[in-house]
Symmetry: C3
Subunit: 137 residues, 3 copies
Amino acid sequence: MTSPIEWLMDREILRQFPQRYARAVDQRDHAALTALFDPDGSVDGTFGQQPVAAYLETMGSRPDTGGTSMHVLADPLIDLEVGADTARLDTYAVVYQVPADGDAPLRTLGMRYVDDMLRREGTWCIHHRVARMVFMR
Amino acid sequence: MTSPIEWLMDREILRQFPQRYARAVDQRDHAALTALFDPDGSVDGTFGQQPVAAYLETMGSRPDTGGTSMHVLADPLIDLEVGADTARLDTYAVVYQVPADGDAPLRTLGMRYVDDMLRREGTWCIHHRVARMVFMR
Amino acid sequence: MTSPIEWLMDREILRQFPQRYARAVDQRDHAALTALFDPDGSVDGTFGQQPVAAYLETMGSRPDTGGTSMHVLADPLIDLEVGADTARLDTYAVVYQVPADGDAPLRTLGMRYVDDMLRREGTWCIHHRVARMVFMR
């Protein structure tokens, strides 16, 4: 297998991360969410800067309001050198927060995720995420 | 050609399906819509569970209200084994229904399409689609 | 390197253009925007049909209202023959125009970009863009 093919395959695997994240968080699938992150990593987002363990605990203990969410993530801009074990993903997203009460207003958030990816023992993971809100309505 | 290259090429072809679907349905292009589906397949969606022929007939006979639609589909999560002739696409979408009357409210639907893909005589097609609405506003 | 691999690599490079455009225009990064377009090309969009130089001047002289924008672009439909130096990208987008005043209404535009791409001296660029608004709210 040549380097260009590995580069292409790595990009396919990396491209799945935003969509896997969307499904994990929308379905409140804690195991799937945990699998995306480097246990030694960190997340700088809505809850401030947190080690991954604390971030996952925060996410897992969110109250279930009965509503649902839909994280619609665009195609990531992927920065990966041939043969590298690190990469950066820059992903735009629109997050719909749908309240349980069908008459209550839908909240829409514009988000941007910048993820420093790391290949650890052959497996890619999110080592450091910066999540920033661009707008909320 | 090695298997990894075929896997990569198949993913490129599969990735086009959600975007081809969006254009076919938004432009009311019946031939383009028909070309996406396995004639022996089925669709479980807005109109219930239907064989593909009945689904296409339903889609083709929708009244033209003079409005337009825009199916903005995110990157699909593609599940494809190397060398396989089946695959699964899981695609998030936001559908904008734009009424002919510019002052009438825009309707926004959050949708999720899960497509079982099949390679028949060398050509990929949607064998079974499950379309579910996540929200509507 | 075989042709299929070059085709796959070209598609990866082409796929980045919509996301690079989104970031360049949202961040008002004139150099990054300029780098996307063929200097001998043209853009047919909001400001009518313009040579690239005039289009870039128009974009660069837009008044800064203090608000921000977010161009959420879907996966492009990529039409590229193996070995070709031209390609076509067809991209759906939702553009959020966020006013500086947090209480002012958010404007949402549905857009479609059709880009004729050209490889010049080994580098891909947008030779001709047609940008059309599908809806605005």
